[in-house]
Symmetry: C2
């Protein structure tokens, strides 16, 4: 055992391969954390949903906290990929911002659970540096994506409301969390769509 630890990262002699698909298992775990939150999820919830034994879990992925970290990484990375693909073929920067806003509204008002990143921010990010780092990276990605579009939109004079691209980017992003909260409380798509429409009008004027 000691020998195999020293000659990492690959074990010297292979004996048996892991049976389950780790990425798939993490994706299943993510769904549980998404629904129940970190503290509301038990290891038995996780192993049951993942379809693996706890010994296999601890041998490959690690403990509950490591699994949570990998789950929210999986969540944020999937979302970043989707966002990149979504906007790559739009020529007008303002139209791209509109599309991003409308796509967010659609997700907010049609997904069964609220955003995992936001739930995590309010539940554990304050007291968990490792989690906070992932959340911050996810936030920074959205910020960079949008500020690129905002800058181009200002250059092209598609936005006249303000010249402060950084503030305007913060201002746009700021709406998403409120829409999530509103939908949890009221379950009213129209209220959210109306304020989103107003935000877009404000930018376009």
């Amino acid at each position: 055992m000691i020998v195999s630890k020293i000659c990492l990262p690959l074990p010297c002699i292979m004996a048996r391969n892991v049976e389950f698909d780790e990425q798939l298992a993490i994706s299943k775990a993510m769904d549980v954390f998404w629904k129940k939150g970190y503290n509301g999820t038990t290891m038995r919830d996780l192993t049951e949903a993942m379809g693996i034994n706890s010994s296999s879990l601890y041998n490959t992925i690690g403990d509950k906290h490591q699994l949570f970290v990998k789950s929210i990484k999986h969540y944020t990375e999937s979302r970043m990929d989707a966002a990149k693909k979504q906007l790559q073929q739009i020529t007008s920067p303002l139209k791209a911002i509109e599309k991003y806003i409308n796509a967010s509204v659609y997700t907010i008002t049609n997904e069964p659970n609220s955003c995992l990143a936001i739930k995590t921010t309010f539940e554990v990010a304050t007291g968990d540096a490792e989690v906070q780092k992932i959340i911050r990276a996810d936030s920074e990605f959205t910020y960079q994506l949008l500020i690129g579009l905002v800058n181009k939109a200002i250059e092209k004079k598609e936005i006249k409301v303000s010249q402060d691209a950084e503030m305007l980017t913060d201002y746009i992003i700021n709406h998403f969390t409120g829409w999530h909260e509103s939908f949890i409380i009221h379950r009213d798509k129209t209220r959210i769509k109306k304020t989103a429409q107003f935000l877009i009008e404000q930018l376009s004027q």
Copy 2:
């Protein structure tokens, strides 16, 4: 015991009074839930902070969930009282809206914990009808408070940006949650103050 339950609400014969101040104890419990969340808080956390034994707790207030319900009620009711007092002597409705926004920004960027109502919304409101009802009542209070001001501001032509008071009220309220999230992630007061200033300018224009 059956007899004393029948002749409720007051017991027929008093024997000994509760030693601790129930409102104070609930306030202490609220602080723990505020910091750790519902699932992150244990009964031992609570009894320790409240300075009472669990038997006394169960005899007077009830179980963990009932204590949580009373804690968030205490939170929301305190906040409603403060909001009412804050705005009662302002003549200009737009100035009152500005004051409400600025007071919220101050709280967001100076309190050690993020808003308990928002944390609760994202942690447990979806799956807990009793909690959701309290959260919805709190939300409705803020909504009614602000829509009154927005309507007056539109009447007085202090707001020209839109005639749709309901949408505009949702739009204003929607910012608060995002500011909370932003402050958890970035701890940057200036970013929040700038977007708040921009929101006020948008309304005032």
